[in-house]
């Protein structure tokens, strides 16, 4: 089957490749770009392990064709850390509050939480739970994930305050 020339910006860097239009974005990221942070958990857009940002919005990359993402800006877990290489507040908070166990849902979960906190910097617990309701975790029971996101929101707010 014929391949198309695909160009996109991933984690701030321009990338390109040849891929069949039907190639799922998750496979393009993982196999062509070696960005193996996002995972495939369910194949049917229920688990959210494949969550990435597409043009500034959280999407499930197992249910997006690479052709649809041609020309787009994509952010994966590999692009979440601060520009100076230090961990983002969310990454720190997940470790601090035991927000992960097997780690398989974690990249999608943090990537989703990262976008959630940009959409709503000061979410309530209910808003966090609703905000990550497209991401399944089998290990943590979510309680420490919610705690981690809450803590990161507070940390980000205090950093913002300090900067102002």
């Amino acid at each position: 089957m014929s391949k198309m020339h695909v160009k996109m910006t991933v984690n701030g860097k321009p990338v390109e490749g040849l891929a069949e239009p039907r190639t799922l974005l998750i496979h393009f990221l993982r196999e062509d770009l070696n960005l193996t942070g996002p995972h495939i958990g369910c194949d049917t857009s229920h688990c959210g392990a494949c969550t990435v940002d597409l043009d500034g919005k959280s999407v499930k990359s197992c249910t997006v064709f690479v052709a649809q993402a041609n020309g787009a800006e994509v952010t994966t877990i590999e692009g979440i850390a601060n520009p100076d290489g230090t961990l983002h507040a969310l990454q720190e908070a997940f470790r601090e509050h035991h927000g992960l166990q097997c780690g398989f849902c974690t990249p999608g979960m943090i990537t989703r939480a990262h976008r959630l906190l940009q959409e709503n910097p000061n979410p309530t617990e209910a808003e966090i739970r609703m905000g990550i309701s497209g991401n399944l975790c089998r290990c943590t029971g979510y309680q420490n994930i919610v705690k981690s996101i809450t803590a990161a929101a507070e940390q980000l707010a205090s950093m913002k305050e300090a900067a102002e």
Binding site: H46, F104, C139
Partner: protein, 806 residues
């Protein structure tokens, strides 16, 4: 000393040993997307395997035409049973003493069964070719109901063994029968029940569910033809056992097989078994000479690799009229699917189901279990529990509640009255287990006080009156559950898998500068072994946990062990770690005696050092002793500081806990809202409270999923009804309530550090607590028992049958 000298307490804190809420060392890579799971592995020239699977529950294969598939550019091979037969690999042994078809031989026995294995240059081409393999089937009548499996006119499922009526566990009663297992004194139990003042009888079914880790099963097999070595990376909860099985199946000498479990995205029992995908990948790599990757998709995971439960337990329990339990009898019909691929210790075809007397001092009990074949996927694994323990616990916890209704007693009171008392430990149950330690009364008492149990019952009484007056359409349920697990399999004298004793192991090397590496026979799937085993060792040898690398999962480097499932890592490998640490310390003591020029007996251990008794200024730290072991010629001692321990546990461990669930049921919609859940766990010595709490949260959430929604259901012709995460119930953060955790500490007397294991307790206790709460909500209306899962429609049906709807 001066006032800057750290005290013993300060030095101990620095170690981050036992009891420390140490942050996990695994997290740095996982939070940055730098985990290394099996599907992340990419090798030069690697091809992809994908299965053609049966669309039918039971059918004869009339022909398989590979031509169109082989014509697809990029397709390298299509394997069928005919290709495997010359290698004698079309069947493989299961861990339960049966055989399982690697690729279907003449017949398919369950929907989703592996029929052909397509090998292609990438997964897209492989999937295209799978669609083009033409299989001609003749559909046969299927058995989806285990109660019909042994009917006289039942279809014969396993033609391969139809003449072999002596099974792995004794004679088979019917061509679809697998085994009968009997424990206890039948006459005594029946006598107790027939003479009892009160007898309760109930059929308790535990539906078919699936562990469903977020990462599915998969592997990469790579045969190096030059040095003859086969390496398989895969989602293996028991890598050494896989190596031994692989060697037995393929006749490749065991030293030429290397099994590596990389990071594993959850296991919960799903990744204990050996699956056709592993065998086909290995064969394909041997044939093609290049690495082969095989990764299940979610439908394949839910329909072909290791389900759990499908236990149908008919019980009778008897008591005196004032509530002293006198006898218990249980018959289990166990649906094992098309092949017996349970992962139980060999002598226990129904696992440790005979822990079903639970936490109670029951004088007479008797259990029989019959396993049968049906047209369903094989498995029957321990989904976040020890072998068949959650089934046993669910059974007794429901039966005790049913008995309480019959006696018109409060279910908590009935439990308190029948608990094994603190002073009875070690306690030998009538079904043969020796419980190591426990203090049940204290635990339940603490739980009841914390939640204000009396207040809750008063609130429930008011709710029921309001319901009857028509003021509310909600009913409040209170679930009380008390569980005793049996984990840490197990003593080699009675626990083995395929003849491999269920010991575990730890090998430690101390480096010259005082850091260390320890390797174990287990493998973490999220439990945080790299963090907690270092903590055990830090406390034993006085080296900070941060200076200890824990490595697992590579059979070329790790010592032999039976892996991680059944909460055995802490009880068995954790013990091996402590024991190996003690060997290190013993040698270090000899070195210290030499360096300090005193007799060994004149030294005492103090956190991280040996010091001369009565003269703590004269001491050698473990770091100093490590260096000395590499640079001093010490008479009578070999250089270096290493130790290995293979730990054969003297007994299992018996964690326990008291769980309370409060929920509200909307009788008009069947929607259940968990208002409060309190979990008190006693897992003996607590290694890392942060990780324990996380394990409890996760286990409770899995219990919620099982009790309230999970089911792998089959229709009459053997079709799976709903095999994606749309239908298979995994709750999101919205459906999951906040959990309250608590604990008591009753150490195990026989474990070197007193730890018992905790990861599976919340699943074992949680399911009973949820189910008891749903049943309790309707108890005053005459309900004795309603089957799980308690999803909306079943709860609504219960309300309807009780005349509560409209």
């Amino acid at each position: 000393m001066n006032d800057q000298t750290p005290t013993a307490v300060e030095r101990a804190e620095k170690l981050q040993g036992l009891g420390s809420k140490r942050k996990r060392v695994e997290d740095a890579r996982f939070t940055q997307g730098k985990g290394n799971y099996v599907d992340d592995i990419k090798l030069p020239g690697m091809l992809f395997g994908d299965f053609v699977r049966s669309p039918y529950g039971h059918a004869r294969i009339k022909s398989i035409d590979k031509a169109a598939a082989l014509a697809v550019p990029g397709v390298v091979a299509v394997l069928t049973a005919e290709d495997l037969k010359p290698l004698n690999l079309h069947y493989m042994p299961t861990l339960a003493g049966d055989v399982q078809a690697v690729l279907a031989d003449e017949k398919v026995l369950f929907q989703g069964q592996e029929v052909a294995f397509v090998v292609a240059e990438n997964r897209y081409v492989a999937a295209d070719a799978v669609d083009l393999v033409e299989v001609d089937y003749e559909q046969l009548p299927a058995i989806n109901d285990p109660f019909k499996a042994m009917d006289a006119d039942a279809p014969v499922l396993r033609e391969d063994i139809k003449d072999k009526m002596e099974g792995a566990h004794g004679p088979r009663k019917h061509v679809n029968h697998i085994f009968t297992w009997e424990v206890g004194d039948k006459d005594a139990a029946h006598k107790a029940i027939s003479e009892a003042e009160v007898v309760a009888e109930e059929m308790i079914s535990y539906q078919r569910v699936h562990p469903c880790p977020l990462e599915t099963c998969g592997c990469v097999a790579s045969m190096d033809k030059i040095n003859g070595k086969l390496t398989i990376w895969g989602t293996f909860q028991a890598p050494h056992a896989v190596r031994t099985v692989a060697s037995l199946i393929t006749n490749i000498p065991e030293h030429n097989i290397r099994i590596i479990s990389p990071d594993i995205g959850g296991g919960f029992g799903n990744k204990v078994g050996v699956y056709p995908g592993y065998i086909c990948s290995a064969v394909a790599s041997i044939v093609t000479g290049v690495p082969i990757k095989w990764i299940e998709d979610r439908i394949e995971n839910l329909t072909s690799t290791a389900f759990a439960r499908d236990y149908h337990m008919k019980g009778r329990i008897s008591a005196t009229s004032d509530g002293k339990i006198t006898g218990l009898d249980c018959h289990v019909l166990a649906d094992h699917g098309a092949f017996d691929a349970c992962a139980d210790p060999t002598k226990f075809p129904a696992g440790f189901f005979n822990i079903c007397t639970g936490s109670y001092d029951i004088p007479a009990a008797h259990v029989t279990v019959d396993g049968v074949y049906t047209n369903k996927a094989p498995g029957g694994v321990a989904y976040r529990c020890s072998f068949r323990v959650t089934e046993a616990s669910y059974f007794i916890e429901r039966m005790v509640d049913v008995l309480a209704r019959k006696l018109d007693m409060d279910p908590a009171d009935l439990r308190l009255k029948n608990f094994i008392k603190k002073e009875q430990f070690p306690y030998t149950s009538v079904l043969g287990w020796e419980y190591d330690s426990g203090d049940y009364e204290t635990a339940l008492d603490k739980a009841m006080k914390t939640v204000d149990y009396t207040g809750l019952r008063a609130e429930q009484k008011a709710n029921r009156e309001a319901f009857d007056r028509g003021e509310t359409r909600k009913l409040m349920g209170i679930g009380v559950a008390f569980f005793t697990e049996i984990v840490g399999a197990g003593p080699v004298k009675n626990c083995d898998i395929l003849g491999l004793g269920m010991f575990d192991s730890c090998e430690i090397r101390i480096h010259p500068t005082g850091s260390a590496i320890a390797r174990l026979g287990t493998i973490s799937q999220g439990q945080g072994h790299a963090t907690t085993f270092a903590q055990i060792l830090a406390s034993e040898i006085g080296i900070p946990a941060d200076m200890i690398t824990i490595e697992e999962g590579d059979t070329d480097t790790a010592p032999y062990g039976l892996g991680t499932y059944g909460s055995r890592s802490t009880p068995v490998a954790g013990a091996a770690t402590a024991m190996a640490g003690r060997k290190i310390r013993a040698k270090a003591q000899m070195i210290a005696a030499y360096l300090l020029e005193v007799h060994e007996d004149d030294l005492e251990w103090d956190v991280d050092r040996f010091q001369v008794k009565g003269n703590p200024e004269s001491h050698k730290t473990m770091a100093e002793l490590a260096f000395a072991s590499y640079n001093q010629a010490i008479p009578g001692l070999e250089p270096g500081l290493e130790a290995v321990s293979y730990y054969d546990p003297p007994n299992m461990t018996y964690p326990f806990g008291a769980y309370l669930c409060v929920l509200d049921i909307d009788v008009d919609t069947g929607v259940t809202d968990v208002r409060r859940f309190y979990a008190l766990d006693d897992c003996g010595t607590r290694i890392n409270p942060m990780i324990i709490e996380g394990q409890v949260h996760g286990g409770l959430t899995e219990a919620l999923a099982i009790a309230m929604g999970q089911e792998i259901a089959y229709d009459e012709i053997g079709n799976v009804k709903g095999a994606t995460l749309l239908d298979f119930y995994l709750p999101t953060a919205v459906e999951t309530p906040a959990w309250e955790t608590d604990y008591t500490v009753t150490p195990s007397p026989h474990h070197p550090i007193g730890a018992k294991g905790v990861g599976e307790s919340p699943n074992v206790g949680g399911v009973s607590a949820f189910s008891n709460a749903v049943n309790d909500a309707f108890a005053h209306k005459g309900l004795t028992h309603t089957q799980m899962p308690h999803d909306h429609w079943r709860v609504w049906k219960t309300a309807e049958k009780l005349g509560l709807n409209g």
